[in-house]
Amino acid sequence: MTINNTDNQTIPQDAFNDSELLRFSTAGSVDDGKSTLIGRLLFDSKSIFEDQYEAVKTVSERRGEDGVNLALLTDGLKSEREQGITIDVAYRYFSTPKRKFIIADTPGHIQYTRNMVTGASTANVSLILIDARNGVMEQTRRHAIIASLLQIPHLVVCINKMDLVDYSRDRYEEIKEEFEKFASKLDVVDVSFIPISALKGDNIVNRSKSMPWYEGPTLLYYLENVHIASDHNFIDSRFPVQHVLRPYNDDFHDYRGYAGRVAGGIFKKGDEVMLLPSGFTTRIAKIDTFDGELENAFPPQSVSILLEDDLDLSRGDMIVRPHNQPKVGQDIEVMLCWFDHERPIQIRGKYTVLHTTNEVRCLVKDVRYKLDINTLHRNQEDKVLQMNDIGRVVLRTTKPLYFDSYRTNRITGSLILIDEATNNTVAAGMII
């Protein structure tokens, strides 16, 4: 008793073609109202379902709170709800007809820097929250530095609790100027500012009636319209081989498809390509998918590439264009964020490295400096990287990696370190 949908097909194949996916991370001190902001976004865009809201209302009442504590919508785990803070990265989803949004809600405490880094790694936008009463704090600076290190392409600074500073334009401008001065030292290009009140709902979805002097977009308008199509690298062609498809059946007897996700550039049928590490060149015979052949493939598509010549590639190898090759080497300089709570980084320690689809081992040759992520000061005296520390490190790998700087490409420029004894992910690295 199944229903075959072809009988009922009234939705065309291209019905959702204009809707993009946007990922944004949120950062702010525990008291800055970040969870309230997210709750408000979901609430005002009518994504909070009735029963979730009812459940939160009941809990708020039971706790004796005034009004509905929207922050409870994003606090999921038992101990979090008890302590009233968020411990881990929580992913929330909502959509408007224009875009689907994924929110990586991360904690504001310094001891959860690792979670912030995690949530920020795939973000298109970083939403930084400032309490208008306090202005730019150490927290703000840290979050901006992390956004810059993780190369999040767009920053939107929300100056919150404007209701508590009488919606003062002067205060807004003062904070904006202070942030801009700080941000000029960072590697950030696109920064926007919005005065809001998460609690009252000003400038989140609906324009604030209390701030007529503000002529910029509301937060939701910004999120729906910020241009993210250029966030991928369409210039440098990079295809890490993830898995080899060999059907071994009659219909596809000699089929050997190199499956993976395009990490950069544009691959076209017929293109001349070079294979790494061998250096052999050949041409693309076909770009295949379940839905048929493609004329070209670009990030972040998952495809299968077939080559004209019978060359042997395996997972970890890379397909590139002959005149635009990545750097190849075993001495890698990275900005490393240390995650491990058990042990700090070990000089001459050995770790497993995952870089694109490659797995190698490495030795930590040196820590050049620890970065003070509140001030950008480079500390060359204290070089012991412990949990949540960030520093510049030199690694020597057992086999060459094919990489780009993280600035150029977030996929071919990133890696993680794994502790071989515990199997834990102990660090995330951005190649310089």
């Binding site: 229903i3 949908n5 999921g76 929580a90 991928h232 972040p300 598509q301 998952s302 834990n424 992910t425």
Partner: protein, 300 residues
């Protein structure tokens, strides 16, 4: 030329990437198949991921013995269509063997018993990775779940111990006896799933579409009447046009009043509804932290 893909294609690409990663990193993965739309979607994505080769993972279905008959029929058709291998873990057999004890009482369900049978089946099959159709938008405790979720040798999930997941890099390393739960459709919402199933014209069990059924009301939720549910004397059975938004087995799945007979109508309903998908799941309502507690003990 416009180099951009829409949100469904991006989600699809991400899921295919995760599925291929599982094939590359694990020795013996298995797909946990419940017969619900999410596991159907996941199976369909696996077919796409490995085309033109076969899906390299078998399907595992934990049969509580209380399944909707439509679910079983659909499962068998799907397995045949894509040439998949199917294993079934049976809760009734486990009850008979004395491994687990049947719940009694008003809201008795075999939902918790599934966990024991699941862990047993995983061990028996020596699977080192179990793929599930869980999504992060479904429930609070899933909002923090990873794509690659490490489980210890007891199958338990420690929320404080999950590995950070950055970029495209998934750490599937484990010690002997440990395994992973993998959630390839973590970032899909209920609406995304329906939109995708619509444009891809994927066949689905009839339960998801409006039909007339004998139901009764309990605690504000409509439950399907069946021989498996214990009814109180004041719970009257009546007929209503309903459909399932989520499919557990017959003892814990709430049904919704609906006239949606096509996927398009379902999408319209899902876009404008005010109730969550799992709002009708009595297994979630047992306590505020029902899902978290079950996951800590090895539940899906």
């Amino acid at each position: 030329m416009d180099y951009h893909i829409n949100h469904l294609r991006e989600l699809e690409s991400e899921s295919i990437f995760v599925l291929r990663e599982v094939a590359a990193q694990f020795e013996n993965p298995v797909i946990l198949f419940s017969g619900g739309k999410d596991s159907i979607l996941m199976t369909y994505l696996a077919v796409k991921a490995f085309y033109p080769a076969r899906v390299p993972f078998p399907l595992l279905h934990i049969d509580t013995g209380h399944n909707f008959p439509e679910t079983i029929e659909f499962r068998d058709e799907l397995v045949e269509k894509y040439g998949l291998k199917l294993s079934v873990g049976s809760v009734p057999e486990a009850i008979e063997a004395g491994m687990v004890t049947e719940e009694r009482g008003l809201n008795a369900s075999r939902n918790l018993l599934q966990t024991t049978v699941l862990l047993e089946s995983l061990e028996k099959g020596k699977y080192d990775a179990a793929l599930g159709g869980g999504r992060r938008d479904e429930e609070k405790a899933r909002a923090k779940e990873r794509f690659f979720s490490h489980r210890d040798e007891f199958g338990q999930w420690d929320p404080k111990n999950q590995r950070p997941e950055l970029w495209n890099l998934f750490n599937g390393k484990k010690a002997l006896g440990e395994h992973f739960r993998i959630f390839p459709i973590s970032n899909w919402t209920e609406l995304d799933v329906w939109q995708y199933l619509a444009i891809e014209q994927v066949p689905l069990p009839s339960l998801y579409f409006a039909h007339t059924r004998k139901v009764f009301e309990r605690d504000g939720v409509l439950l399907a009447d069946s021989e498996f549910i214990f009814k109180k004397t004041d719970e009257q059975v009546f007929e209503a046009e309903v459909r399932c938004r989520t499919i557990g087995d017959m003892t814990c799945t709430g049904v919704w009043r609906s006239h949606a007979k096509t996927v398009e109508e379902i999408i319209e309903e899902v876009s404008t509804t005010h109730q969550t998908e799992r709002g009708g799941r009595t297994d979630d309502k047992r306590s505020d932290t029902a899902m978290e507690d079950r996951k800590k003990h090895g539940y899906f």
